[in-house]
């Protein structure tokens, strides 16, 4: 199915803890956005007492250790690049994913001169990348141990290749919808 794209995949990670319910999902897609693997967790609802007892450590433990470790470890298809949109997950994702990891976020900046251009930002490890000719540049952030410009160029090359056939941020909204549907199914059942 994905032979034309060299079997390369992107790994999208979403871990949500809003409304006191923690859940996570990993979507592996090929460079067209077609799903190759999808893993999700059942929602975890800490009680009010548990939230008081464990404090801020609970959020970190559930998101970065319990959920992230579980779903990243469960995927059968290894992506060439892990993508998240939560800065708190980036370092853990880089460590657990055993590969390139990046935080990807939209901007409203004017397009840069050419596709593939990168521009270093003030935040360490943060760059703007022009991934395709018809969108605003995207902001990427790299993990602290991989924040050099060569790493940014390598990540930008992967993003540019994928952006020619898919919307790079679209899988996040699909994952949110999938989790919402699964949540409704579980609460209904």
């Amino acid at each position: 199915m994905s032979s034309q794209y060299g079997g390369k995949n992107l790994g999208y990670v979403l871990v949500d803890g809003s409304d006191g319910v923690f859940r996570g999902a990993v979507l592996i897609t090929d460079f067209r956005g077609i799903p190759a693997d999808f893993r999700y967790t059942d929602p975890i609802r800490p009680s009010r007492l548990e939230k008081i007892l464990y404090g801020g450590a609970l959020d970190v433990y559930l998101k970065e250790e319990l959920i992230l470790e579980n779903i990243v470890g469960a995927v059968e298809v290894q992506p060439v690049l892990w993508i998240c949109r939560d800065a708190d997950l980036l370092e853990s994702l880089s460590r657990l994913g055993k590969g390139k990891a990046v935080l990807l976020a939209p901007t409203s900046r004017p397009p840069m001169d050419a596709v593939g251009d990168t521009e270093k930002q003030n935040d360490p490890g943060s760059y703007l990348v022009q991934a395709d000719p018809m969108s605003a540049p995207m902001r990427i952030a790299l993990p602290m141990n991989r924040s050099k410009e060569e790493e940014a160029k390598a990540v930008a090359a992967v993003l540019v290749e994928a952006a020619s056939t898919m919307d790079l941020l679209e899988p996040f909204s699909r994952m949110s919808k999938a989790l919402a549907v699964l949540g409704e199914e579980q609460s209904g059942g």
Partner: protein, 209 residues
């Protein structure tokens, strides 16, 4: 004589009835009241709270007693104590009382939480993709339409050959598409144009981006 008698008579009548009050100023108690205000200082910052390592359980309880260990208490001490372990004699006694109690400290993880990852690729594969309007970012948008036409939206990238079904989401201005993964390879732009001619309406055109 008579005057003396009258004086004695009157003295007997009024003796002890006249109260003598002292007006000496030195015996008055003067109460001094200061006009200076007392300032109450209240910090506006939040009280500092130290949150312990909540993932380590009750094994970290600590007690402090005010005594000094005798010099022979240490079983072994390395030359300079930095990260080297220091051992204490198990039977350490002070004034005949055992002062050390050994309990195995245990580190505990947050209990009661477990998670299982489930496989759901079939569920997510059934969901359509949502493609956004890129017209505002397209540099060549002036050349997209002819006379009497106006480009309304440009959806990119759309896999032309694998497109099974598409629905325009009028509320969000996005295009919702379903693909056949076996055939979807070639990415193009899908342009929506409004024609102002007599029979005009909305038109869809594929363009090479």
């Amino acid at each position: 004589m008579a005057a003396e008698d009258i004086r004695t008579f009157l003295a007997r009548i009024f003796l002890g009835k006249a109260k003598v009050r002292s007006l000496r100023p030195e015996e008055r108690k003067v109460e001094l009241q200061s006009l200076t205000r007392e300032l109450l200082v209240r910090p506006l910052r939040k009280p500092e709270r130290v949150l312990g390592s909540t993932l380590l359980g009750a094994g970290m309880s600590a007690k402090s007693k005010g005594f000094r260990l005798p010099h022979d208490a240490f079983g072994s001490v390395t030359g300079s104590i930095r990260s080297a372990p220091v051992t204490l004699k198990r039977q350490l006694r002070v004034r005949g009382q055992r002062i050390l109690r050994f309990e195995k400290a245990s580190t505990r993880r947050v209990k009661g939480f477990s998670v299982k990852s489930r496989r759901g690729v079939a569920k997510v594969a059934a969901l359509p993709l949502e493609i956004g309007n890129r017209l505002q970012w397209y540099a060549g948008r002036a050349d997209l339409s002819g006379a009497g036409e106006a480009p309304l939206a440009l959806y990119y990238p759309v896999l032309e050959d694998g497109l099974i079904k598409s629905v325009l989401n009028r509320d969000k201005g996005t295009l919702i598409v379903w693909y056949n993964p076996q055939k979807a390879w070639r990415a193009k732009g899908l342009l929506m144009v409004r024609s102002f001619s007599a029979n005009g309406g909305l038109e869809w055109r594929w363009i090479d981006a």
